[in-house]
Amino acid sequence: MPIPASSSRPAAAAWRRFTRNRAAVAGLALVLFFLLMAAFGPWVAPHDPLKQQLDGALAGPSWSHGLGRDELGRDILSRILHGARISLGMALGASLIAAGAGVTVGLVAAYRGGGLEEILMRLVDVVLAFPGFLLAIAVVSALGPGIVNVAVAVGVNTMPGFARIAHSTAHAMKETEHVAAARALGNSGPRILWRHILPNCLAPIVVQFTLRMGTVVVIGSGLSFLGLGAQPPSPEWGAMLSTAREYLRTAPHLSLVPGLAILLLVLAWNLLGDGLTEALNPKLNRS
């Protein structure tokens, strides 16, 4: 059956609104740039990111080392290019954990209702009550330092937003006629959740994903900065910044680049998230 023309119109209108928003397009371009950097960075890096050359330690930018060298003489540009995969991978992993766990909890709570809903959503409230990334610090200090543990800790910390959105959207969906029809046809609960309710919750979940990515990058690199995430000699950007802090007086350029990389990555996701929110909720657009 051909798809009626009207069904594609809201998406086309949203895309038009998105492309008219220059900040949002810049955000999308930057996100794509960082994704490409994470994918191909290690291949285009001019030097080995771990190769030490102590006679060139703390050297400023030069023709052979465009962004200078760190305290052990390693090439900063190569470390940044390699680090993109770790920093972005850690953030994407954490967001996927948060979205997977949060959406499952929210959908199941809304669909099953009753005591289970009450228990699950109160648990979400408890996680939400922890301010900022304090819970992530507690979790990662218990699990021990490491990139995977940081992704888990940040994922747990970020989960409530996804749970609440999935819960409220699924609650509204549960009462619609097409879910009632699916139930009347004898579909099982998990099948109804997966095939009929989840697809309709996807738009707000995707928006939440892009909006939260900026915060997730900050928390993840912040934990590495505190020494709880990626460990030396890993070229993770937060860890690089942490080491560079020791050389603020003698070689401030060491901290400039990894910090700027984190800032741009966060800015990119924030601009993209804001742009998507405005494109999908035109009433919010107040420019």
């Binding site: 900040a23 109160r122 648990l123 409230d125 408890v126 996680v127 009550a129 922890f130 301010p131 900022g132 990334f133 304090l134 819970l135 610090i137 507690a138 979790v139 200090s141 218990a142 699990l143 021990g144 900026g214 900050v218 690199s221 912040g222 900065f225 505190l226 020494g227 709880l228 937060g238 910044l241 560079a244 802090r245 603020l248 007086r249 401030p252 901290s255 910090g259 700027l260 984190i262 800032l263 966060v266 800015l267 924030n270 601009l271 804001d274 107040r286 420019s287």
Partner: protein
Amino acid sequence: MGRLIGRRLLFLLPVLFGILAAVFVTMRIVPGDPARLVAGPDAGPEELAAIRHQFGLDLPLHVQFGRYLLDVLRGEFGQSLKTQRPVLDEIVPRLWNTALLAVLSTFFAAALGLLAGIVAAARRNSTFDHMTMAVAMLGVSTPSFYLGIVLIVVFAVMLRLFPAGGSGGLIHLILPAVTLGASTLGIVARMTRASMIDVLDEDYIRTARAKGVRERVIVARHALRNALLPVIAVVALQFGFVLAGSVLVETVFSFPGIGWLIVESISMRDFPVVQGSILLVTFVSVLVNLAADLLYGYADPRIKF
């Protein structure tokens, strides 16, 4: 109002219980033996067993949790494994330092954010508006630990206007407070602008304009009062994030607050102090949010709890 506060406090109990349970469970999955930390690497099995007994670590988990709940209710958070002093004695002076820093940074962020947001809304789509919103977005997106480093390089190392870290007077608080407040400043500016624009489009503002009231009076007297409500909520909500954010900022500036204490205690595996600090900061944040909710309800009689 008394009944309202009572009801809200009652709602808070399961959340507080959940926080206690979450922190308790998290700290129990820590690998390694806390008794070994107290006794040192050369301790024999008998000495370790005695220490486990002294700290109640040999009891079943549910009994440990029960004891821990009773202790917290009595205001006892245990002993620091490192200094052997009561945890509360370690935490309280540090908490005061952090509270001072958090209040200062929130005040700075709220005042400047409000001003920027109001002017941006009153001059919608002007260059000032675009610039302010761009700076606000930058404030929201700059990680505090990076901003802190940049401020140290510029204002402490290059210009020598402020100390690069430590404590000892108001001058030591300025750079950390600006760093800690930057993100809140951005959020408050964006929120104030959005809220003001909503209100400035209302009928009663048009009426005031039609009556010939001066624009400055309309903005300051008619619009601002109504636009302030969501901003109050955001500022209060941000306070918890500011408290948690102090962990990073205090580490950058070597500021002796509770955030730095948490980081130091994690690296020394002094878990009673980590546990107590996280609990106390979370409790303070939950209570501040409750106070904000109540204040919000008091300021806007349309809101029912």
